[in-house]
Amino acid sequence: MSRNRLQDLIPRLVLSPSLALILIFVYAFILYTLYLSMTDSRMLPSYGFVGFENYEKLWNLRHWWRALGNLAIFGSLYIVICSVLGLFLAILLDQKIRGEGFLRPIYLYPMALSFIVTGTAWKWFLDPGIGLESTMHQWGWTGFEFAWIKDRNLAIYTVVIAAVWQSSGFVMAMFLAGLRGVDGEIIKAAQMDGASNVTIYRRIIIPMMRPVFLSAFVVLAHLAIKSYDLVVALTGGGPGQATELPATFMYSYTFTRNQMGIGASSAIIMLVMIFSIIIPYLYSELRPGRQR
């Protein structure tokens, strides 16, 4: 082969190890898990084909429905609160604030922390025995009660509290970048027409943030569906199954309850949920004509 031919091949040769790794570790793994979800695998993979039996079992498990219900509560509150709070803080910070350079990193630092650290901090702070509740009692407010983390019906909301604390600063940064990109001329024109500040935000600026809302939604939604570590550290899925999410469900069915087939089928459902959000988004972002 001539040197030139070799030179022509080099770019593709350089790319190929990465592509090969991803084809194996992502796409072949997806197919393998899909196949396992249709087998009688229990503690170890086994290849007796059972069709959709695992999916039928899965959808008949109250435990799985509980995990999905929790995901619906957690995911929607997490996304909505992070977005609203993020936009609110970004608008406030965008008012020529003295000390912005000081405040912004304070809002943002939680996202540098792992969910395990976040979970540990909030776990003890929300613990009625030693945390906030007992502190309030100590301060003389003896009627104060805050034991959500021990309450089967309310524990899932403590996961929301900790997750919002961790991620809302990041959403704020996204909106702040969006606000800084708004063309000042448009605002001027609106002011000349006599529009009030509230109107300008409501009618002009916030609607212009649509792409940021979309990006924030995609990022937060896929984080919510993947959420695992925070629940492990904060509540361990409990009390009972009160904070079980699909990710913790998958892990316990696959590795501790020896129901690998059901675990695999739950992983496939998670993948379908994420892809149904991500693929349309990537498609609209990357379609020709929008590419830089």
Binding site: I10, L15, F25, T135, W165, V212, M250
Partner: protein, 293 residues
């Protein structure tokens, strides 16, 4: 946008400005609260915490919990403290970050300056890998690591982190190099420069900002990973996050909250330091990944 146009500077607005600052400071306190709780209670004796006020400053100051968390606390079955796991994490993070960043840079270079038919599809496949739920990979990854003899090793975790980091590193470099003038590359080609020469002499020297972004992003993600660590690690390779969780959630005995908090800060320290030193880049990196897609 210049904000003075939105909030005026008249007298009636002074009150609004005060409210504005009050709200901003209130939120700053909210974000600082858990960190404050961790720090303050990590230097208190256990009795002082049990007596019930997590928000007060320590009456007796002690570094005992820190020493214990670092070198003698019970993690799983061994009273080793977090120290060995800290070094497990370092040994895992450094090569994983380096390899995934180098591969990402080369991929980004090829995908923008040496385009070929179907490169969009290749990029799409790589990009989509950023978003998969890792639960989908746990069972087959355990099998592959076993087959390669890498189960429970740091090398195995490095491999896993490199693979699942490639999507982000490639994305970052591709977006960055897309804005780099292709004419410079073509001119160098005409002068007879080859693939790696062009990369080293022309692109690499102006890549410092995106390298910083990518390294911080990868460092944070890999250091903070829990799922892969708990699934594929054992004593010689378990990372810090898993050890911390073992420390905190161990059921037996007295709950040493002060040691837990000290351990949590130790686990958070590396990413926190990286963030404090170069937070501006950190944010920029997230923006590049999240907003630009």
């Amino acid at each position: 946008m210049s904000a003075e146009k939105i909030v005026g500077t008249g007298r009636g607005n002074r009150f609004l400005r005060v409210v504005l600052y009050a709200v901003l400071i209130l939120f700053a306190l909210y974000y600082l609260l858990p960190l404050y709780v961790m720090v303050v209670n990590s230097v208190k004796p256990l009795d002082e915490i049990r007596q019930g006020d997590m928000l007060s400053l320590p009456q007796i100051f002690t570094l005992e919990p820190w020493a214990k968390a670092w070198s003698s606390a019970q993690i799983g079955v061994q009273p080793t403290g977090l120290r060995p796991y800290f070094f497990n994490s370092i040994l895992m993070v450094v090569p994983a970050v380096a390899i995934s960043t180098i591969l990402g840079a080369l991929n980004g270079y090829v995908l923008t300056k040496w385009r070929f038919r179907g490169d969009d599809v290749v990029f799409g496949l790589i990009l989509l890998s950023c978003f998969i739920p890792f639960q989908i990979a746990l069972i087959p990854a355990a099998r592959i690591l076993g087959m390669l003899g890498l189960a429970g090793t740091t090398t195995g975790l490095v491999l896993i982190h490199v693979v699942y980091g490639l999507g982000f590193t490639t994305l970052f470099f591709r977006n960055y190099y897309a804005a780099f003038p292709t004419e410079l590359v073509r001119a160098a080609q005409i002068d007879g420069a080859r693939f790696f020469q062009i990369f080293r002499r022309i692109l690499l020297p102006s890549s410092a900002p995106i390298i910083v972004v990518t390294v911080i992003w990868q460092f944070t993600n890999i250091w903070n990973d829990f799922l892969f660590g708990v699934s594929f690690g054992d004593f010689d390779s378990l990372p810090m996050t898993v050890a911390l969780n073992n420390l905190v959630s161990s059921s037996g005995g007295v709950k040493e909250y002060n040691v837990h908090f000290a351990g949590a800060i130790l686990a958070a320290l590396p990413t926190l330091i990286v963030y404090i030193v170069s937070g501006r880049y950190f944010v920029r990196g997230l923006m590049a990944g999240a907003v630009k897609g």
